[in-house]
């Protein structure tokens, strides 16, 4: 009896020993959120296969995790000093908090010396650069927010594509009079409502309004923030958004459903929503057309300015990674011509040079054109701000669209949180 236990124990030890010797070959761990539903899934799989074929003895372990749990997972791993070799972020404030903690490899030299930096559109690198140093590469897709609309519905009710805010409100009124919801919006997810707010702040005060407040030279209670809040609440009061807007979820398609069933006519949407529409309802996606967020009379913002992201998903190398050269090489596999082609095929617009030549879809071409014409691209507030403030900002969007907070309260709440965060009191 005792002997057999001892024997089993020995076998157990030997297995552990054996498995570690097999693992002696190099393994790089890659974390991202490219699960099956995401446009980058196939591309990453393919890039790994090609990379492993070219580099015998090196293995990439890909661990995709669903969007929201991914953020938590990465955060916990960073806290436990257990971060993977290569990881994905959304750039901006989220990545910066890891950079400040010394977790992210500064790949400026590698990018510049190899000249690979020219592979990407400049705005894409911008989002992952802090104080002139580069901490990642943009990979998946250019993304911006545009108004999608159904031309057939515009025709039916005899309205034209609006170019100014006033015209947009008039168009909305026509739809309301005919029992159609002007704007499909699902605001339980909060960032969806924030799109309207960010755009209005930009159109009224120009990009510097947010930049100043963010750099703490200005304030989140500056006039454009208040004005934007008032304009949104005017829309809410006239009934321009679906009833129960704060209860509908964007990630469960509850906004797109209104557009599909002709209950709503316009939809302030991201490029990724268009990819989803193509698979959910090809007929509507076929008909869909887009226009820019209209200008506000007397406002300072250029009407070509975009709210969006020049890469959507950015890949960085951790400082803990033992094989940074190899990791950097792998990043070239997920941004090369083959990867670019695969991403375009799955409906994305990779932020690498030459993507426009591959596009064959009218809406995507138009989106790309709007993007390249943009005088300024403002990254979403919730990705620019540090996570704590981003969450406060998103919570206030419920108050704004639900009319339970005044525009002043919305502005004050964020400003107070920012003061506290930056220890200004």
């Amino acid at each position: 009896m005792k002997k057999s236990i001892r024997f089993l124990f020995c076998v157990f030890l030997l297995t552990i020993l054996a498995s570690t010797t097999i693992l002696a070959q190099i393994e790089l761990i890659l974390w991202d959120h490219q699960t099956e539903a995401e446009p980058g899934h196939e591309m990453i799989k393919d890039a790994i296969a090609r990379f492993e074929a070219d580099h015998p003895g090196v293995k990439i372990r890909h661990v995709p995790t669903k969007n929201d749990s991914y953020k938590v997972k990465l955060q916990v791993a960073m806290a436990a000093n257990d971060e993977p070799d290569i990881f994905m972020t959304w750039g901006g404030g989220g990545l910066k908090s890891y950079v400040d903690a010394g977790k992210v490899y500064d790949m400026t030299d590698m990018l510049v010396n190899s000249g690979y930096i020219n592979r990407f559109i400049p705005a894409g690198i911008e989002t992952v650069s802090f104080d002139g140093r580069h901490y990642g590469v943009p990979v998946i897709s250019i993304s911006g927010a545009f108004f999608g609309y159904r031309p057939s519905m515009f025709e039916k009710y005899g309205v034209e594509v609006p170019e100014t805010w006033e015209e947009l409100v008039e168009v909305a009124q026509v739809f309301i009079d005919n029992g159609v919801i002007p704007f499909a919006l699902a605001n339980a997810t909060k960032w969806t409502g924030s799109l309207y707010y960010m755009y209005l702040v930009d159109r009224i005060g120009g990009p510097e309004t947010f930049q100043k407040a963010f750099n703490r030279e200005g304030s989140f209670t500056d006039e454009p923030f208040i004005k934007a809040g008032e304009m949104i609440q005017d829309l809410v009061r006239m009934g321009a958004f679906p009833k129960g807007v704060n209860g509908l979820r964007e990630d469960q398609g509850q906004a797109r459903m209104l557009l599909y069933t002709e209950r709503a006519a316009m939809y302030l949407m991201l490029q990724s929503a268009y990819s989803l529409m193509k698979s959910e309802n090809p007929a509507v996606a076929e008909e869909l057309d887009i226009f820019r967020f209209p200008m506000v009379e007397g406002g300072k913002g250029n009407p070509t300015n975009l709210i969006g992201s020049a890469g959507n998903n950015y890949y960085s190398i951790s400082n803990k990674c033992k094989h940074k050269e190899l990791a950097f090489k792998f990043l070239q596999y997920i941004t090369d011509d083959k990867a670019q082609e695969m991403l375009v095929k799955s409906g994305a617009m990779p932020p690498t040079v030459g993507t426009d030549r591959l596009l064959d879809d009218e809406v995507n071409i138009k989106m790309y054109q709007f993007f390249s014409e943009a005088e300024y691209v403002q990254l979403y507030y919730d990705q620019t701000l540090p996570p704590e403030l981003a969450d406060v900002h998103k919570d206030t969007m419920h108050g704004l669209f639900g009319l339970t907070m005044t525009p002043e309260e919305v502005a004050n709440t964020l400003e107070e949180a920012a003061r506290k965060y930056y220890n200004e009191d």
Partner: protein, 293 residues
């Protein structure tokens, strides 16, 4: 015959004990300790004394979430226990139709919370949801009701989904307890000429006392630390209207990355749940003692 050595006993207890210590007991004092720090989870911890706690007691969102938790406790107790008891009484006898009903009624308990949340999300949908569709078509209301998006209704709508999930559990508990009541009592009652209501109030209900008390404690603790359906259905929204202590703790720790503050919320949650269950158990115990059970 083997004689069990103490070492063997220890070895057999060890795995379960380790897990219990690591995930249940140790984190309690640890979170009390963390609550004294300002910490984002990555950089160094900064000792700030009781600042988190002072902030917590003035945090209107936290206080509101405590209130929401108590509302949930109250709603759960007045819906789950009576309905479960009623169902149990209807179907405790063994028969073919009752067996079928038991299985059907038990189904909600078998689904995962996330599946239930998604199901209820579609039921509540203001435009395509079953509930609104029926109410509007039958002319009871003329505009769809915004269940999950309204700051007034969100918590109640969520608590309905929670009750739907947990009623079957208590129903099974009561069925087992009712079947455990000795038949002689009912026979004696019949001989004495008691009607159905008398039998229920004078035999079944008193005999179920301890089961009902246990069920209430379970509901109490369960509702105080409740998380999953609320998180998936409303995420505590809109604008914290259906926030519970547990969802608030999660948001503070993992979305806003305030681990110290999150720990303070967690420890406050523990204190409230622990003291309330102790209080309730003591109250019922002293009540039993007085009656001389």
């Amino acid at each position: 015959m083997y004689k069990t050595r103490p070492l063997t006993i220890v070895l057999f207890i060890l795995p379960a004990l380790t897990i219990f210590l690591m995930y249940m007991l140790i984190p309690i004092p640890l979170s009390a300790f963390y609550s004294l720090f300002q910490w984002d989870g990555i950089t160094d911890m900064v000792f700030i004394g009781l600042k988190n706690w002072r902030e917590l007691l003035n945090d209107s969102i936290f206080l509101n979430s405590v209130l929401n938790n108590f509302k949930l406790v109250f709603l759960s107790i007045i819906t789950q226990i009576p309905i479960a008891l009623l169902l149990a009484i209807f179907i405790y006898k063994k028969s073919r139709i009752n067996n079928l009903l038991r299985t059907v009624y038990f189904l909600p308990q078998l689904f995962s919370s996330v599946a239930i949340s998604v199901l209820w999300r579609y039921l509540y949908d203001p435009f395509f949801g079953l509930i609104n569709e029926v109410l509007v078509k039958t002319g009871i209301i003329d505009m769809p009701i915004d269940f999950l998006g309204s700051e007034v209704l969100a918590l109640y709508a969520t608590s309905l989904a929670i009750s739907w999930r947990f009623i079957p559990f208590y129903m099974i508990l009561f069925i087992a307890a009712i079947n455990g009541i000795p038949n002689e009592l009912y026979e004696a009652a019949r001989v004495d000429g008691a009607n159905k209501f008398q039998t229920f109030f004078l035999i079944t209900l008193p005999m179920l006392r301890s089961t009902i008390i246990n069920a209430i404690v379970l509901v109490l603790v369960g509702s105080l630390k409740y998380f999953d359906i609320v998180y998936v259905l409303t995420e505590g929204g809109p604008n914290h209207a259906s926030e519970l202590m547990a969802t608030y703790m999660y948001k503070m720790s993992f979305t806003r990355l305030k681990m110290g503050y999150g720990s303070a919320v967690a420890f406050a949650l523990f204190l409230i749940a622990f003291s309330l269950s102790l209080l309730f158990l003591n109250l019922t115990r002293s009540y039993s003692a007085k009656k001389g059970d």
